[in-house]
Assembly symmetry: C2
Homo-oligomer: 681 residues x 2
């Protein structure tokens, strides 16, 4: 058992601060463990009672019979340090500190929290919390929590395949209660509060190792650790994260709540997309995505067929397919011919396939249409929409859908726009048939898009050993360009010249059209300082040399590049590791902030993806009467830059600005490498 | 009674095609009218039965005792024409044609539909449908529908203040069933199907006149008629519309469903925003917005205060506030001081105000914090978030919130992230207290944004008589510029010259820096044809004259404009009427499609709004080292253009390209007026 898995698999739990007093927080976990039938040993810890609710109690964990897998600490903040000492002394590997009064209250609390964590680490004790609501695991009936959720009557707590970890305890258990109400089955719920030692993400990573877990859900406030995130993604299990603080206002609120540091939210977006982790924006969306994770069918592509009993639902589904980046399958001609035989004249055989309310009088319509779509190789996902159908009609539809799902193995999602009071058994029947159900087409398609996101084949990450090398000390432009050239990145032909005659010769060497540049360490705004002369010819070479040399450094002569489209390419440090950024120059970056990010290393194809997702990407294709330029070379440059920096440590900033993309090839016209401090990240 | 209001207020209803056969569609409205206690006379029409379910039946409406307010026609398509004839003969003012088999099936059906509508119009009969599911009104218990919804047990059909009209019948009644299940109270539900005569929008306009209707909801597939839309907006009642076919895929699906014509969806967005009508993207969103329409409190601004028992909910609320274009109030200093006395140390007194789970032990926390926020003049809307609270705790919170709502008159929305099984009475208690409830902060804030959208003060529309004038026949650039100048729009000084000498004089008149332009009717690409010479001086005037004159038309000499930022301004016809469009030139329009639209006439302030919503608007403020230009003059130009064209009829295209915005003023450098055909819209 890993230490952390005691959160759901502990064979013995000490409740430090257990109480018999009705209404006391320390009574709730006792109540819950007893009521739900915890399968292990309960060890109430209370210095003033020999037993709690009939269970023998002990003054300290040190007095309780071991081994103890998990301690739940529920005493006041001031007494937590002593409790932690006791846990260490008792050899307990994991403690949940539920108590508040730590980093969330300000500096003093943060200091107290740091002390406690240091103490625990030194003693081999891992900590969940503080300031959390505990953990729940169905299998062993672990209810190491004081959440009011489990105090309610008739909580539909059942075996499930979803695991949910939340930094926020109240929101986490609140969302879990909604999940239960909506027929989802979370078998594991953990809140991690201040994430002082073990983070929410680490718990998710451990849960990914549990064979019974089919899907993982998380609510995070802190910027996730990239290593843990990668390990979680590598588990191969579907993951959806709600990371709050997306906006400036949200980021400020998060900072005041847990002291979470803001990173550029778009970098996190890019990282999650690269890793195949779904990012959602609301609890509702998290639960909708969770529902499709419960099913095991995975699509092999993103082409959707919609079969509907209502034209309106079909249109809304088509809208959502486009908005979510999926594709409406155009269907094979033989499918349309077959549907033409089946669907009534007032329906539609183009996708969305509208079988109309006629299905009420002829239930075989559903079967026959589904058969056609299952057999069609241009269909990867099927979404079935029906509205306001009553009990027996829904039963027939579910039977058809179940048969179709079994036959084809293609994921089938259901949008049933009708109240449960019309078909009270429908939610259960659909769940048992493994058919995720949503009240509207848009919500079904959101889930379908998430399913495709976690199923899409991704090239394996190249093997790397990030951060083990040294950042090169190439301080000057020519040194840096030499380094780039070694890495196979095109830079202009050219060299340092040492005299007027040499300058003239150098201009001849580049066919008589040259750029002269000052190489002066520390000179930042070269162009503004008169340190760049464009279009130098043999006639003007001597003059140009004199003017540039007068700036006090050496003189670099390079060939003049042809016209093209300019990119800005950079590598910068971030909380998630080095980030590669590409953007079109000028107003695109400066006014529109039109840039694309990727974490390094880059996988095959990602360079081209980065260029394609720029809003101004049409410029590369020769929009506005311009010439189309060599996008392949531009993408290749991105990959070579990624390869070049792969074993550099964090803490530098590499700026290639501009990279000119030519009709043939791409060339780095200027380059700078600077140390990047925390403040400039 | 207006004809249309018979849909919900009819005192007598003829059911043409009424049947006693179990399972027959024609039986359902009979069942429903009887079961729900219709307050008027039911007149079953069936040529083969003297009575239906105990109600005397008649072979034809012509034989039934009048007056008949409403006929529900449920016979096969082929027999609808005869039924319509009968209704006309019987003097019935309104008929719902539920039957399918018309425009939705193709050309032949469309022809049949046209014939029936023509027949009905000639006979003074208005038509709802065909291909619809009927209409429902609670007050008179009108259930002129065969929707399975009303066949269910325990339908929570109660008095309500929401009216819902849907072009799609199945989706409409499906959504209505969800509304009922979620505790919303739609008192009026109408489906209009093919909208062959009366449109869904007309029905909404009539419903807006019903005093008891507090909020209006619509699902539309066709492009709405702008006149009806304006009348609906002028009712002053809150309206939310779900218009499908937003995307290309959705548009194609809609066209195949009802033959709906696509207009530029962004023009519709702009029009609805101008009119203060909320546009939603999903049924769920429609119902969420409806919930806030049921309450009568309206905000006077968009500044939100969040009070939360969970830090996580607070962050999510802050994210949603920014994402929805609302403002997180920064609170008055005295409010923060007061909150500092109330809120525990581990909470937060900055907005979001986190009172923490301590509220469970000290319920007065909620009261006290709400009092502070109610008294704070920088707070227009309050959103209260709580998670997973059990019954009695929710009751206390609801009591606090009810008192606060009564005291302040400020709208208060609730995000309760917890299952109903934890607090079964909460939905009812909150509803009775007039507090709209949502399961997540994001959904509450979506509704808050909609509430602000319908409450925001809008300047009255200027009085206009659109389309009564004539489009001027100003064919040439100088003629058109003269027209613009008359309208107070700045154009360059200049004039037509008739000789080399005159050209030289004209250059002197504009301080020696001129532009020469060819004025040749029909010459489209002036610049490419060599018809424009920039920077002409007295020295080059004669040469320039000769070159331009050689193109065969007259020669226009204008002053050379100063540098500035260029806009493209146009007025074009659309299905919604003339649309004013403004965009930044170059890549902004050509690559990024960065334009802003408004229907005409323009209200005060809308010109500036248009400029502000351009993605590249920073260019006007002097981004990238440029000079800030005269945005006020640019906005003024937009208003003067709007005034100029206000009584022109549709069917032309006015292009001012470019309008150069200068550090002082704005000047139209080129202008063209062309006839706009259907195909180029």
């Amino acid at each position: 058992m890993s230490d952390i898995s005691a959160l759901w698999a502990a064979d013995s739990i000490a409740v430090i601060g257990a109480s018999e007093r009705p209404g006391a927080l320390g009574r709730k976990p006792m109540d819950y463990l007893l009521r739900y039938g915890y399968k292990g040993r309960i060890l109430p810890i209370n210095p003033r009672s020999p037993e709690i609710l009939g269970v023998p109690a002990y003054p300290s964990v040190k007095d309780a019979p071991g081994p103890i897998d998990l301690a739940l600490i529920m005493v006041a903040a001031a007494r937590v340090a002593d409790a932690v000492d006791d846990c260490v002394a008792a050899g307990i590997p994991l403690a949940i500190i539920a108590s508040s009064g730590f980093a969330e209250t300000g500096e003093e609390g943060a200091r107290l929290q740091d002390e406690i964590v240091a103490k625990a680490r030194a003693g081999g004790l891992r900590i969940i919390g503080p300031n959390c609501i505990g953990a729940v695991g169905y299998e062993n009936r672990v209810l190491a929590t004081f959440s009011p959720l489990f105090g309610a009557e008739n909580v539909p707590f059942e075996p499930g395949s979803l695991a949910f970890v939340s930094q926020s305890g109240a929101l986490g258990f609140g969302a879990a209660s909604l999940a239960l109400e909506r027929g989802l089955r979370p078998g594991w719920v953990v809140s991690t509060g201040n994430d002082a030692d073990v983070t929410a993400l680490e718990v998710l990573r451990e849960l990914a190792k549990v064979p019974e877990v089919a899907g993982l859900l998380g609510y995070l406030e802190d910027t996730p650790d990239i290593g843990t995130l990668r390990a979680l993604a590598d588990s191969g299990k579907p993951v959806a994260l709600l990371k709050s603080g997306r906006t400036e206002a949200g980021g400020r609120a998060a900072a005041s709540h847990t002291g979470a540091l803001a990173t550029d939210d778009r970098v996190l977006d890019a990282a999650l997309r690269q890793l195949g982790i779904v990012r959602v924006d609301d609890i509702d969306e998290l639960l909708d995505v969770a529902r499709v994770f419960e099913s095991e069918r995975r699509p092999v592509g993103n082409r959707v067929a919609v079969v509907t009993t209502s034209g309106g639902s079909g249109i809304l589904a088509a809208d959502a397919i486009e908005a979510r980046g999926l594709e409406l399958s155009s269907l094979q001609p033989e499918s349309k011919a077959a549907l033409g035989e089946i669907v009534p004249a007032f329906g539609a055989i183009d996708n969305p396939v509208d079988i109309t309310a006629t299905v009420l009088s002829d239930p075989s319509l559903f079967d026959k249409s589904l058969d056609v779509l299952i057999a069609d190789d241009t269909v990867d996902i099927i979404v079935a929409c029906f509205c306001v159908m009553a009990g027996p009609d829904v039963e027939k539809a579910v039977t058809s859908l179940r048969k179709a799902a079994e036959k084809g193995g293609k994921p089938i999602l259901v949008a049933r726009t009708g109240a449960d009071f019309l078909a009270p058994d429908a939610p259960r029947d659909l769940r048992e048939a493994g058919l995720p159900e949503y009240p509207t087409p848009a919500r079904a398609l959101r889930a379908a898009a998430a399913l495709w996101e976690v199923s899409r084949p991704r090239p394996a990450l190249p093997h790397t050993t990030p951060g083990t090398g040294r950042t090169p000390q190439a301080a000057t432009e020519p040194e840096l360009k030499a380094l780039l050239a070694e890495a196979g990145i095109t830079v202009p032909r050219g060299r340092i010249v040492d005299s007027e005659d040499d300058a003239a010769r150098a201009v001849q060497e580049v066919e008589g059209r040259a750029v002269f540049k000052a190489v002066v360490p520390g000179l930042l705004h070269k162009t503004e300082a008169g340190g760049v002369k464009l279009g130098v010819t043999p006639d003007t070479a001597v003059d140009a040399f004199r003017q540039i040399a007068a700036l006090g450094g050496s003189v670099l002569v390079e060939e003049l590049a042809d016209d093209g489209v300019e990119l800005i390419v950079g590598v910068h440090s971030s909380d998630l590791g080095p980030v590669l950024t590409a953007g079109l120059g000028g107003i695109f970056t400066e006014i529109l902030d039109d840039v694309s990010h990727r974490l390094l290393p880059l996988r095959p194809g990602e360079g081209a993806e980065m260029l394609a997702e720029l809003r101004g990407t049409a410029l590369l294709d020769g929009a506005r009467g311009g010439q189309a330029v060599d996008k392949a070379a531009a993408a290749e440059t991105l990959h070579r830059v990624a390869d070049l920096v792969q074993d550099w440590p964090q803490g530098y900033s590499l700026d290639l600005n501009p990279v000119r993309v030519l009709p043939q090839g791409a060339v780095v016209l200027d380059a700078a490498l600077t140390a990047q401090t925390e403040a400039t990240r």
